[in-house]
């Protein structure tokens, strides 16, 4: 591991991006916005990109990212965005290089749902955004979230009104870089009003092999008795750097259901933090990650049980081939008053090669005495006795392996609370396995 660079405010490329762009970023003429940006670039500047010396970044080294010379994405690109779900059953939101594409997004939104691009909302001076951007979660948040806040350019603000039960799935596609070495900082806000129901599928896809850096931060507020399914597919090209922070607050008797399928990127880090803030709130934080070659896939979760009677289930499954590396960091904090908490976490990894590696760090911090918490992290190779049994029945070793990997990953997919989308994820897994053959 290399020595951490001492970064001063002047020689960091992202600080330079800020200095050059601050007057043209959305909301530049609004005092509270430019103050917020200034405060956050200063926060970021104190440390620069995290190094492996920082405990939370021990296993994910951003040195590779540091070596690239990413320009800040500035011009709108009109490339065609590929949607996966049928148009008549979905509402669509399109992004190219981090910028909202109004032309390719749905025009007519049903009653109770409002969509605005983040840039437009900020330019309009929507002060309610201030609340989302400065939530409790972001106090002491990572330098990358601070960097995002300083440079946030576009994204979406999605509001689902109280009582709205949305039948259509909202499909959000983020198409990556069309030319080399761009970076962008997307900011999203999802507000699910009281008693609302909605499903969001975000997909990160590419139509080029260009390297880029997408630094995303998403704030999710799930109102009382609301149920939000928030699924994310990261199938970026193998040169991309994807860093995503999701910060969710869950209200009384509400449920936040998250699933991540990560197959892409040179380096992907998904950091999800959930605050279970009111009684009977719950979350499902699940995912599957597959990596090959020199890919690096990091899942970092942090669940705060703040009050009594909250529940969180976490199931992650990883399949690592080639020289890939997987990281799982899962923290569960049960605060002093949070009696009757139920928190279960597991991360199981299948290593398909001797050069693949996984680092797992489960952490339970329990300050209440009447709780049920468990965690389990395992990693292992394919079971030879299973393979021989299947081969002895006529299956080739490759087919046997494929079936075993599929079965292994299915257990995570089956945790998705919106069962209608499970088949879509099974198909993605099959697709990935077919590419491995």
């Amino acid at each position: 591991m290399s020595e951490a660079n001492v970064i001063s405010l002047t020689d960091d490329p992202f600080v330079s991006h800020y200095s050059a762009a601050k007057d043209s970023l959305p909301g530049a003429d609004l005092g509270w916005v430019s103050d917020l940006r200034a405060k956050n670039i200063a926060l970021y500047g104190q440390s620069g990109l995290p190094t492996p010396r920082v405990e939370d970044w021990k296993f994910t080294n951003l040195n590779l990212l540091n070596k690239q010379n990413f320009a800040l994405s500035s011009a709108a690109n009109t490339a065609e965005v590929p949607f996966a779900l049928e148009a008549d059953k979905t509402l669509r939101i399109a992004f190219v290089e981090g910028r909202f594409s109004a032309e390719q997004s749905s025009k007519n939104w049903p009653a109770g749902v409002s969509l605005e691009s983040f840039a437009a909302a900020l330019e309009k001076g929507d002060e309610s955004l201030n609340e989302e951007l400065t939530r409790e979660h972001h106090k002491g948040d990572t330098p990358l979230v601070a960097l995002n806040t300083a440079l946030m350019t576009d994204g979406f603000v999605l509001t689902i009104a109280a009582g709205t039960e949305l039948e259509e799935t909202i499909e959000i596609v983020h198409l990556g870089s069309q030319s080399a070495e761009l970076s962008w900082h997307s900011r999203n806000v999802i507000r699910a009003g009281e008693k609302s129901r909605a499903t969001i599928l975000e997909r990160i896809v590419d139509s080029s092999e260009s390297a880029y850096f997408a630094n995303t931060a998403t704030t999710v507020v799930v109102g009382d008795e609301a149920r939000l399914h928030h699924y994310r597919v990261q199938a970026a090209n193998s040169a991309a750097f994807l860093i995503s922070h999701t910060r969710a607050s869950v209200g009384k008797s509400a449920c936040y259901d998250s699933f991540i399928l990560n197959t892409g990127a040179r380096l992907a880090r998904n950091d999800i933090a959930v605050r279970l803030e009111a009684e009977q709130s719950s979350c499902h934080i699940n995912g599957a990650y597959m990596a090959d070659g020199d890919q690096h896939s990091d899942i970092t979760t942090h669940i705060d049980h703040l009050v009594p009677n909250t529940t969180c289930d976490e199931v992650f499954k990883g399949v690592l081939a080639g020289k890939s590396r997987g990281v799982f960091q899962g923290k569960i904090v049960v605060h002093q008053d949070a009696q009757k908490t139920v928190g279960n976490q597991s991360n199981r990894v299948l290593l398909l090669s001797e050069t693949a590696e996984v680092d797992a760090k489960p952490e339970l911090e329990i300050f209440a005495d009447d709780v049920i918490c468990s965690h389990g992290c395992t990693s292992g190779q394919m079971d030879d006795t299973q393979l021989f049994y299947m081969q002895a029945r006529g299956l080739s070793k490759e087919t046997a392996q494929r079936l075993l990997v599929q079965a292994f990953l299915s257990e995570a997919v089956e945790e998705m609370q919106n069962e209608e989308l499970q088949d879509f994820f099974f198909a993605l897994i099959e697709e990935w396995l077919a590419q491995q053959a």
Binding site: Q386, M390, Q391, A392, R393, G394, L395, K397, T399
Partner: protein, 252 residues
């Protein structure tokens, strides 16, 4: 159908089989009996192609073709089936999926047309009914949560669906109560045909009351020490393997 000639097998440099000779013809059932550690299971695994074993001498001819260099799935395609002493659990893969993949993989190997899903399921249901197995089992993951008897019956179901030419039953009777034993034996007897053959490996004579062999061989110290008709099994039941366990000097 099967000709094993002077077969020598080692595992991690340790000699297990020391020159097995065995010829099995179509329509026959051969029983291989012997004390623990005599090499019975090794013989079964070597026939199926498990790769932990090294064949240092000899050959295995199956319908005139040397199969010693074939992968397990190729041997299965040729028509060799091993009923496992301990059938393996495969969580997340249903019996139906597993059998459909296996059935079609074997067909493909033989250059036959694959059967479509619907037709296969019909075929599978028929076989399930014939064996008196509940269809509900087909939806369950392979052997997961099955009792010992259910696992063995599941292996017999696989055998009846895959219709091998040669089935090797490796201590299929171990751990079975008398009812399960009878079910398994009935299953096997129902599959006997003039053009297939069975090798029944067992420690006890009990199973041979139900699956009546044409020939019985005694395996000890990696070699067949004695062969005879079904009465040999009864003789062994009476006298035990004492006559054969003393022969160490000869085997070494």
């Amino acid at each position: 159908m099967l000709e094993i000639k002077n077969l020598h097998v080692e595992i991690d440099g340790k000699k297990i089989l020391n020159g097995i000779n065995l010829t099995i013809k179509e329509g026959e059932v051969h029983a291989i009996m012997g004390p623990n550690g005599s090499g019975k299971s090794t013989l079964a695994n070597v026939l199926a192609g498990k790769d932990d074993y090294e064949i240092t001498e000899g050959e295995i001819l199956f319908n005139g073709k040397d199969i010693t260099e074939l992968e397990p799935e190729e041997r299965a395609g040729e028509g060799v089936f091993l009923a496992f002493q301990y059938p393996v659990e495969i969580p997340g893969v249903t019996n139906t999926t597993f059998l459909k993949e296996a059935f079609n993989a074997q067909r493909k190997y033989r250059g036959e047309e694959e059967m479509d899903g619907l037709k296969f399921v019909k075929h599978l249901r028929q076989k399930t009914r014939d064996l008196g197995i509940s269809e509900e089992m087909l939806k369950r993951s392979v052997n997961v949560g099955f009792s010992g008897g259910e696992k063995k019956r599941n292996d017999i179901l696989q055998m009846s669906v895959l219709e091998p030419k040669l089935a090797v039953l490796d201590e299929t009777d171990s751990g079975l109560d008398i009812d399960a034993l009878r079910t398994v034996a009935d299953g096997v007897n129902g599959l006997r045909k003039p053009d297939n053959a069975f090798v029944v490996i067992t420690h006890y004579q009990r199973l041979l009351d139900y699956i009546v062999p044409d020939q019985v061989h005694v395996l000890a110290f990696g070699k067949i020490r004695k062969s005879g008709g079904k009465e040999l099994a009864l003789e062994l039941e009476e006298k035990g393997y004492a006559d054969f366990t003393g022969a160490e000097g000869e085997a070494a």
